[in-house]
């Protein structure tokens, strides 16, 4: 345990430093890089400490900070973590550290504010993952839009204005509906604390409506089919680091919200609708994989692949509803699979967006037809990229396999059909990943008109670290399981206990 408010520090220090970086007029690029690098390293170290100190033998909330915030409305400044939060906080800190390394070798106009926005984003993300008061959660959840909006809008590509507005309005629309459900729940339970929502008595109809609001709110964030269309646009226009943080951490906020709100609050309605929601996830997995295969733009391809992979996350979550009555252990496996898939997708998609960013830097084009034969000029890079593509297609030994395997196992517990359909994803994701690898890396290219040069030291470091962790999670995922196990079991058990 710590004798200082560790979560508040993790949230507010990056936000404050980020604001200073944005508002300071004459700060040199190198100084701001140094600050960002040191700070994000420090945050990574502190969050590793947090994970070490976290007592993973229990599903109780830990490191609780609870102060009355708006007394008349019963809103608290309530921070805490459980295993699910800890793993996502670790992911956030880790990815932000990699972005800080990567960005320090890049050139951006007004770099200090660029880095500042990322620091703010990091603080807000950690806040989202550790807020246990629903209004506080909503505030962090919603504030995330601001820095990302500006990152994409200021440093993005040609069509960025359309993409940013679409992204902002889509997600805002989802979250305001969620806000209504939160207020409604608070009206009934008399408190805004998320845990008090769990014991609220709702009529079935109310529960159904609240479930739909949560489904829309978090589903847009994840994003689920059919509300995923903002993601490819946002990804294509975002700068590399923006895409990385968007794919690897921001999408996870949706999954996290589902686990935190939807599962425990609207269990009965969820059980009622679980089959339909599972079909939605399967559509995301299968249909979007085909869409991904048809893409000409590398970023779009990976963006659609993200939607498909996040389909596994939602599948794992919805399977909990489906299996709660019949097969609790399969439900637990499903939820664990969803968690592992979130972390693993966080690493793999980050890696792939870094790779695309590196290729784009040389060829100034993200289209598959403009990029070919990279392997001849960038052998080390190509080795790494093909590894990430393999991981993306769920090769055993990489982290991509673990999550999908668990979710598929769990879905077999529900029905053979679900398991079969989910498993087709291994084939489909391999086909589009390898298609991309084949064209981009191994095409025939004698002239090198694109000007490919082997990637720089920073980039190698970033990619190597990612390889190490993807392999580590793929071969010995124990550490991750140790953190999330009790919390996942706690959630599922409290759900099935509530059912009886």
């Amino acid at each position: 345990m710590f004798d200082y408010p560790i979560l508040s520090l993790l949230i507010w220090v990056p936000i404050l430093i980020g604001l200073l970086l944005i508002l300071s007029k004459n700060i040199s690029d190198s100084l701001s890089q140094l600050i960002t690098l040191l700070l994000s390293f420090l945050i990574l170290v502190v969050s590793i400490n947090l994970a070490q100190a976290y007592d993973h033998t229990t599903s109780e909330l830990q490191f609780i900070e609870r102060i009355e915030w708006i007394s008349g409305l019963n809103i608290f400044y309530y921070l805490a973590v459980d295993g699910i939060s800890v793993s996502l906080i670790l992911l956030t800190a880790f990815i932000n550290f990699l972005i800080a390394i990567y960005a320090s070798s890049e050139n951006y106009a007004k770099k200090s504010s660029f880095l500042g926005y990322f620091l703010i984003l990091e603080g807000l993300l950690i806040g989202t993952f550790s807020a246990f008061d629903s209004i506080l959660f909503y505030i962090f959840f919603e504030s995330l839009l601001i820095p990302l909006f500006l990152i994409i809008g200021i440093w993005g590509g040609a069509n960025r204005k359309y993409a940013t507005l679409k992204f902002f309005l889509y997600t805002l629309f989802g979250s305001v509906l969620m806000l209504i459900s939160i207020i409604y729940l608070a009206k009934i339970s008399g408190s805004f604390a998320i845990q008090d929502f769990y014991s609220v008595n709702l009529s079935f109809q109310e529960e159904l409506l609240i479930l739909l609001a949560f489904l829309i709110g978090f589903g847009i964030k994840i994003p689920m089919w059919p509300v995923h269309t903002w993601l490819p646009d946002a990804h294509v226009e975002a700068p590399t680091s923006g895409s990385v943080i968007l794919a690897s951490v921001l999408l996870k906020v949706g999954g996290y919200g589902m686990i935190r709100f939807m599962l425990p609050v609207t269990t009965d309605a969820g059980i009622y609708l679980s089959e339909y929601m599972i079909y939605l996830s399967l559509i995301a997995i299968i249909y979007i994989s085909f869409v991904a295969y048809a893409q000409e733009d590398m970023k779009k391809l990976i963006a659609y692949s993200s939607v498909a992979h996040m389909g596994f996350v939602t599948l794992g979550i919805f399977l909990v509803f489906n299996l709660l009555d019949s097969n609790t252990s399969a439900a637990i496996i499903g939820l664990e699979g969803a968690m592992v898939q979130m972390i693993s997708h966080g690493l793999i998609s980050a890696a792939l967006f870094f790779c695309i960013g590196i290729i784009y830097k040389h060829s100034k084009s993200r289209l598959l037809k403009d990029n070919y034969g990279v392997s001849k000029f960038m052998p080390i890079f190509s080795f790494m990229m093909i590894f990430f593509l393999m991981a993306n297609s769920g090769l055993p030994g990489t982290s991509g396999f673990v999550g999908e395997f668990l979710v598929i196992t769990s879905s077999l517990g529900s029905s053979i059909l679900f398991g079969f359909l989910a498993a087709t994803s291994l084939l489909l994701s391999a086909s589009y990943s390898l298609k991309m690898g084949k064209t981009v890396l191994f095409g025939d290219n004698l002239k090198n008109t694109q000007g490919y040069i082997e990637c720089s030291f920073n980039e190698k470091i970033v990619l190597t670290i990612l390889i190490i962790f993807i392999l580590y999670l793929g071969i010995v995922p124990d550490y991750l399981f140790k953190i999330i196990d009790q919390s996942v079991i706690g959630i599922v058990e409290s759900l099935s206990a509530g059912k009886i």
Binding site: I135, E142, I146, L150, T164, V176, I180, K187
Partner: protein
């Protein structure tokens, strides 16, 4: 310590005369005259907090509630005059008359707040309106300005007529113009009698006229034209002082004399509020002129205030108080920033005049970013908490469908606020854009308070709870 009633009003009235005379003899000393104006406001603000309370049963009440709001108005005017002075000086049309007329309008708003009889209310509204007519037409060189002045004059005179008609109906059937008398008379009126219907008509006429002054839909037609036609400094005044005053009038009128008829006016207010939110949000989408855009945004904000008043619940009243304060702060900030920026030596008119501001003036761009996001209701800024309070009040009164419409409208309105941000941050431009002030401390405080109050919303929450308490003391 002066120990008489009405000190702030008396000080202001006498001060206005002195300043007019002073300005007559020292035409060149504009700065000095302006300092006098500020000094006058400071004294009035000081005495408004330490004012003696009047006996509760009179045509003009002074109590803690009115004192706090007068203080807010006076301090707000200080900021407004600060922005105005710089703006007029830059446009080279600085005249001290502008401030003296504004001060007269300010006295009008103070009378409206303190009014405890319908005639006193009428007097205050007329004093305010007359000075606004003059202020709107102040920019004599612009034809839009004259058009706006005439439009506002004609419509305003008509609405005053409607107000008087409503007042006469109420007077005719209750035999009184004092709020408390009316309240006690209305109890005796039989639900089936003609009197009842006449009173309802009276209330509806008064409501229509007040909604006109408030700028709420469907009486909003004048708002965009007048906002566009007048100087930005007048627009700041128009979008803050009268709104606060009319809000207090709403609060006092409906919750003291007309409270028995709440079934009648509650539905009207909810309808007007919803309509204003919808119209304000939808019509703003296509606006190119920043003043028109902010005018529609004001309409939708007014809608939030009226809607939460119409709920007739403790939550609703508190939400409307909260929203009014937040709205005034935000309007002050957003118009205030625009007074500080010029494009090619002219004031800002079109939204595109602001394009590329973030490259040349990152700090001002940041300030606009904050105000726009706050208006859009994005946390952690204070605008979010205001909208949260209204939605919470709606839900606790079980208006779920309305709350869904309201939040969808906030998403719609987020679009045009984002459009402004988009123009500032993502667009480029070549020609000159400049700000004419190095000394923007008041503006910075104004904008940063939106962040600070957003992070510590309980400050404002406690203030409104306190206001609620003192309001319930006087209303019961």
């Amino acid at each position: 310590m002066l120990n008489i009633l009405f000190i702030p009003e008396i000080i202001l009235s006498i001060g206005v005369m002195i300043i007019i005379l002073f300005d007559l003899f020292f035409q060149k000393q504009k700065g000095l005259s302006f300092t006098l104006v500020q000094f006058l406001l400071l004294i009035a603000a000081y005495y408004s907090l330490n004012n003696k309370f009047s006996p509760s049963y009179s045509a003009y009440t002074l109590n803690e509630f009115t004192n706090v709001f007068k203080f807010i108005l006076l301090v707000g005017s200080l900021a407004i005059f600060h922005y105005t002075y710089k703006h007029l000086k830059f446009l080279k049309i600085l005249k001290i008359e502008y401030f003296t007329i504004s001060l007269l309008g300010l006295i009008g708003t103070m009378i409206m707040i303190s009014a405890n009889s319908l005639l006193m209310l009428y007097l205050g509204i007329e004093l305010l309106s007359l000075s606004l007519y003059a202020l709107i037409g102040f920019n004599k060189k612009s034809s839009l300005s004259s058009e706006a002045a005439i439009k506002y004059y004609v419509l305003g005179a008509m609405s005053s007529g409607i107000l008087l008609f409503g007042i006469s109906l109420i007077y005719g059937f209750t035999g009184s113009i004092a709020y408390d008398d009316i309240a006690s008379q209305l109890i005796n009126i039989d639900m089936d009698s003609v009197d009842y219907i006449a009173i309802i008509f009276g209330i509806i006429f008064i409501t229509a006229s007040l909604c006109f002054k408030f700028g709420a839909a469907p009486f909003h037609m004048w708002v965009p034209d007048i906002y566009q036609g007048s100087l930005i400094s007048t627009t700041i005044l128009l979008s803050t002082l009268p709104k606060i005053a009319v809000f207090i009038v709403f609060l006092k009128l409906y919750f003291i004399p007309f409270i028995l008829y709440r079934e009648v006016w509650s539905d009207i207010l909810i309808f007007v509020g919803m309509l204003s939110i919808v119209i304000g949000s939808l019509f703003a989408l296509t606006q190119e002129n920043i003043k028109r855009l902010l005018a529609y945004s004001a309409i939708s904000n007014i809608g939030f205030i009226i809607l939460s008043l119409g709920l007739i619940s403790i939550d609703g009243i508190q939400a409307s108080l909260y929203y009014t304060v937040v709205y005034s702060l935000t309007a002050l900030a957003s118009f205030g920033i625009i007074t500080h920026i010029t494009s090619n030596s002219n004031g800002i008119e079109k939204i595109t005049d602001l394009s590329g501001l973030s490259k040349t003036h990152p700090y001002f761009a940041f300030l606009i970013l904050i105000t726009m996001l706050s208006s859009a209701g994005i946390p952690p800024l204070i605008g979010f908490h205001a909208k949260l309070m209204v939605i919470k009040a709606l839900i606790s009164s079980s208006y779920i469908i309305l709350s869904i419409i309201v939040v969808i409208m906030t998403v719609v309105s987020a679009y045009y606020y984002l459009k402004v941000i988009k123009t500032i941050y993502f667009d480029n431009r070549e020609d000159l854009i400049s700000t004419y002030s190095n000394n923007s401390i008041i503006l910075s405080i104004n904008v940063l308070s939106l962040i600070a109050l957003g992070i510590f919303p309980y400050l404002l929450f406690n203030l409104t709870s306190y206001l609620m308490r003192i309001f319930s003391v006087i209303s019961i």
